[in-house]
């Protein structure tokens, strides 16, 4: 073993002591010069690309803007726009890119009926066909596919089931999320089951994006988001459902408790405790209190205390008071115990008055700090 290593070192040395070095260095030098030239060309290219884009933009923007003002804002047209008047060569990739960017900006700025008209204009300019083509043919290009799906959703154009199905099963999370968002935007409530059933491998940002899509879709109903909570699912997925539950005030204590008891230290459990609080799960007050005593991590204890403040119906007052008065506990726990007492007014009013009269020293400072009107959410 050692001798082979010796041979290898010997060989390397032999190479470099012979003609190896000069050959090696000359090749490397030529390569460096070559790549350096390529870099300069690349920089020049990026500058040129940017210049072309800006030139096209400054040419197209005024025309398109005036067109939109004239037909959508003044004439109140909703469809059948005389797009030929614009004289745009949309087959040109650059032109089509600039037009798309400008229209996007308008669509995300104008809402209501005029917003609808904007989307129709987008459609009539031929972007539906372009996007339909893209989702069929550039399945590997994430940016193009995601963008096309978003465009089709804006235009509310339907996509063939087989294609949508394929996109929803894409190995790329970005594409799966885009397909889900498409479904939510186009089909609304009807798509809930389909979207939530196939959700996996998404990041927290994706979850936030889907949440936003649902919430901004003007859905108001009593869909049971909690049915999709599952211990085996990732934090991002479970957290999305919990956020939706909180937003639509769907309380399902049993499901949340399943998450909490499965792994008490997990982020999912912390969020579930938090959600119990935000959903005002009155029946969980005692159970939370019990959980506190068996719970070990500080983060979990803090969440429990916060939740008790929200759900509390007076049953946990003595418990909270005990924590607050315990000088051996970390300050953050005592702080939250007191805050939750304050939150439990009127049940705790008498006790709070007593505390304010009695406490001094550090406790007094703590009490005053929490009651200070200018100290927010601290």
């Amino acid at each position: 073993m050692l001798s082979t290593l010796g041979y290898i070192i010997h060989d390397i040395r032999a190479f470099f002591e012979g003609n190896g070095w000069p050959v090696f260095v000359i090749v490397a030098l030529v390569l460096s010069v070559f790549f350096w030239t390529a870099c300069l060309i690349g920089i020049a290219f990026f500058y040129y690309r940017d210049y072309r884009y800006r030139r096209a933009y400054s040419r197209i923007y005024p025309a398109l803007r005036d067109f939109i003002y004239e037909y959508i804002l003044v004439e109140n047209r909703t469809s059948h726009f005389p797009v030929d008047k614009l004289g745009l060569d949309l087959d040109n990739k650059l032109v089509s890119k600039v037009v798309r960017h400008i229209l996007h900006d308008f669509i995300f700025t104008i809402g209501g009926e005029k917003g609808q008209s904007m989307r129709h204009l987008f459609n009539e300019l031929g972007f539906d066909k372009e996007s339909q083509y893209e989702i069929r043919h550039s399945a590997t290009n994430i940016v193009t596919t995601v963008r096309s799906l978003a465009n089709l959703a804006l235009m509310k154009v339907s996509i063939q089931d087989t294609i949508l199905d394929r996109l929803q099963k894409s190995p790329q999370a970005e594409i799966r999320v885009a397909a889900s968002k498409y479904l939510l935007q186009v089909e609304g409530e009807q798509a809930f089951d389909k979207v939530f059933d196939g959700l996996y491998g998404i990041s927290q940002l994706h979850a936030l994006d889907i949440f936003q899509t649902v919430v901004q879709g003007n859905y108001y109903g009593d869909y049971a988001f909690s049915q999709w909570l599952e211990v085996s699912k990732s934090f991002a997925v479970n957290s999305l459902f919990m956020d939706l539950m909180v937003y639509y005030q769907e309380l399902n204590e049993a499901q949340l408790w399943t998450l909490i008891t499965a792994d008490k230290e997990s982020k999912t459990a912390l969020k579930a405790i938090n959600s119990l609080g935000k959903l005002l799960a009155k029946d969980s007050e005692e159970r939370l209190q019990a959980l506190y005593t068996e719970e070990s991590s500080l983060a979990a204890k803090l969440e429990i205390l916060k939740a008790l403040g929200r759900v509390g119906q007076g049953k946990s007052i003595d418990f909270l008071n005990g924590l607050f008065m315990d000088a051996n506990l970390p300050l953050s726990l005592r702080k939250h115990a007191y805050r939750s007492l304050v939150a439990q007014k009127p049940y705790s009013s008498a006790l709070l008055r007593k505390i304010e009269e009695q406490v001094d020293g550090e406790e007094r400072k703590l009490v005053r700090s929490i009651n200070h009107p200018m100290v927010h959410y601290i």
Binding site: R13, F16, E17, W21, P22, V25, I26, A28, L29, S32, V33, F35, W36, C39, L40, G42, I43, F46, Y47, D50, F108, I142, V143, V146, R147, E174, A178, S203, Q204, L205, H206, L208, D209, F211, Q212, V215, D243, Y247, A299, P330, L331, S332, K335, E362, K365, L366, R368, S369, H372, M374, V375, H376, Y377, I378
Partner: protein, 478 residues
């Protein structure tokens, strides 16, 4: 004797080859990781997080010491970042001028009762101020006894911060409006828990800054600042983005870094004794995560979000670099147990050894190399043809790497509006090895020597003089 010489040659040759291999790797990895970033960026709208009702909160912590001249504008600029949920915590680190009175007057501050929970150690906090204006209710000013270091001041801010994420910056840094959105996107769009995120920094020296707000970025005119800008671009886009690909980032600079507060506190907060407190903090956070057997990510994004004023005199620059060098040496010494320690996983096996062998030893090897050259010349043992060939290659390779990072920078975004700026920057790459690089090597060596002989560092004095940058783009090419 010949045997000795060839052995030394062999060691140097091997070292250079390894270094070359690292750079070729970085060349490839940085392109991949920037492409990945731009792809993710392209597949979402910046508004997603901006318009979100459930965006996680961020506390911006910015220490200030004798910043009376610029403090009001700088705080104002921090208060106008675009993000739905954040607060600004300014830590007045016992300023001797009227920094605090100015803040009190401008923002109508009053002292409030506030019981500070000292979660990480810092000097005593004398008072907490909040604004009477409702529009400034997200501003908190902490008045504390001077702790003699930025670390101590940031720790005080952490103790007061309310949100789960901390953005650590300096009051004299100019941040892009979208800073929080970009950084939080990076935190939320990850597989593992992200404990720290950084972004590219640049020089604000010649940029047009109005009332603490960047209006137009420009290449610094003074040559020293321009060299630094170039060094930063290379260090961030090539170095940090390259290591980002392997999740092996050694440092998130103190000028702009977003941290997970829970881990920050669990790791014990910033070390006031460290001269490279930013890198030391990230090191400890990584080690803490490994100790707890938790998976984590330290990330960088290629977009420039922060403009900082670089030292504009030779004296200031060397002083800053001496401090970084000493900081690096301290870290190598204090955390040496991580060196090739498999229980610290990629941190122990890649990040730390890389730092030790290439970041820390590079200046030493360079100096030794020069001595060796001189020795060879004196003993007539030099192969001139070969030596010159080598020098030309190393020179060209460094110019190429710099040009490549400028290319990457332009790929991300075109920051200079004027075309001549980019031409000048490309030309600067040719001068750097002759003028700037020797200064950096000299400062590093001087720093190591000072640290070895335990000379006390003039930390306080230096920082106080004004607008200097206590941040270190580590991974800067040595």
């Amino acid at each position: 004797m010949t045997h000795f010489i060839s052995s030394v040659e062999f060691i140097f040759g091997l070292y250079c080859l390894l270094l070359l291999a690292v750079y070729v790797m970085l060349f490839r990895m940085s392109s991949l990781s920037i492409r990945r970033n731009l792809r993710q960026r392209g597949s979402r709208r910046i508004q997603t997080l901006l318009e979100s009702e459930i965006a996680p909160g961020v506390s911006i912590v910015a220490p200030a010491y004798n910043e009376s001249v610029t403090i009001v504008n700088n705080v104002r600029s921090l208060m106008t970042l675009f993000y739905p949920r954040y607060e600004v915590v300014i830590v007045n680190d016992g300023s001797k001028d009227d920094t605090l009175p100015k803040l009190i007057k401008e923002f109508d501050l009053v002292a409030v009762d506030f019981l500070v929970d000292y979660l990480v150690p810092c000097k005593e906090i004398k008072g907490i101020y909040k604004s009477r204006d409702i529009s400034h209710k997200h501003l908190t000013v902490v008045d504390k006894i001077n702790g003699g270091s930025k670390a101590d001041a940031v720790n005080a801010g952490i103790n007061v911060a309310a949100f789960p994420y901390i953005l650590n910056t300096d009051v004299d840094c100019v941040l892009a409006n979208d800073t929080l959105v970009y950084l939080m996107e990076a935190v939320l769009d990850a597989k593992e828990r992200v404990i720290a995120v950084g972004a590219t920094l640049r020089m604000s020296n010649s940029s047009y800054v109005d009332s603490g707000m960047l209006v137009e970025a420009a290449l610094p005119k003074p040559i020293l600042a321009r060299f630094q800008e170039m060094e930063y671009i290379r260090s961030y886009l090539l170095g940090k983005m390259g290591w980002n690909y392997l999740n092996c980032i050694p440092n998130v600079s103190g000028g702009l870094g977003l941290f997970d507060k829970e881990i920050l506190i669990a790791a014990g907060g910033y070390d006031p004794k460290s001269l490279g407190e930013d890198m030391e903090m990230v090191t400890r956070m990584c080690m803490k995560m490994c100790d707890n057997n938790e998976k984590y990510e330290v990330k960088y994004i290629p977009q420039t979000l922060c403009w900082t004023e670089g030292p504009d005199s030779l004296k200031m620059l060397t002083r800053q670099r001496i401090r970084w060098a000493r900081g690096l040496m301290q870290i190598m010494r204090t955390h040496r147990k991580a060196f090739f320690n498999p229980s610290y996983k990629r941190f122990g096996l890649v990040v730390f050894p890389y730092n030790a062998i290439f970041e820390f030893f590079a200046p030493i090897m360079e100096i030794l190399g020069i001595f060796f050259y001189i020795y060879l010349i004196l003993t007539n043992g030099i192969n001139w043809q070969m030596a010159i060939l080598l020098l030309v290659f190393v020179y060209m390779f460094s110019v190429f790497l710099t040009s490549f990072s400028i290319l990457l920078d332009n790929y991300v975004y075109k920051y200079y509006k004027r075309r001549q700026d980019i031409v000048r920057l490309c030309l600067t790459a040719f001068l750097e090895p002759f003028i700037y690089h020797p200064i950096i090597v000299y400062s590093s060596i001087k720093g190591y020597i000072q640290e070895l002989f335990g000379k006390k560092h003039a930390w306080g004095e230096m920082k106080r003089k004004g607008t200097l940058t206590p941040l270190s783009p580590n991974g800067a090419k040595k």
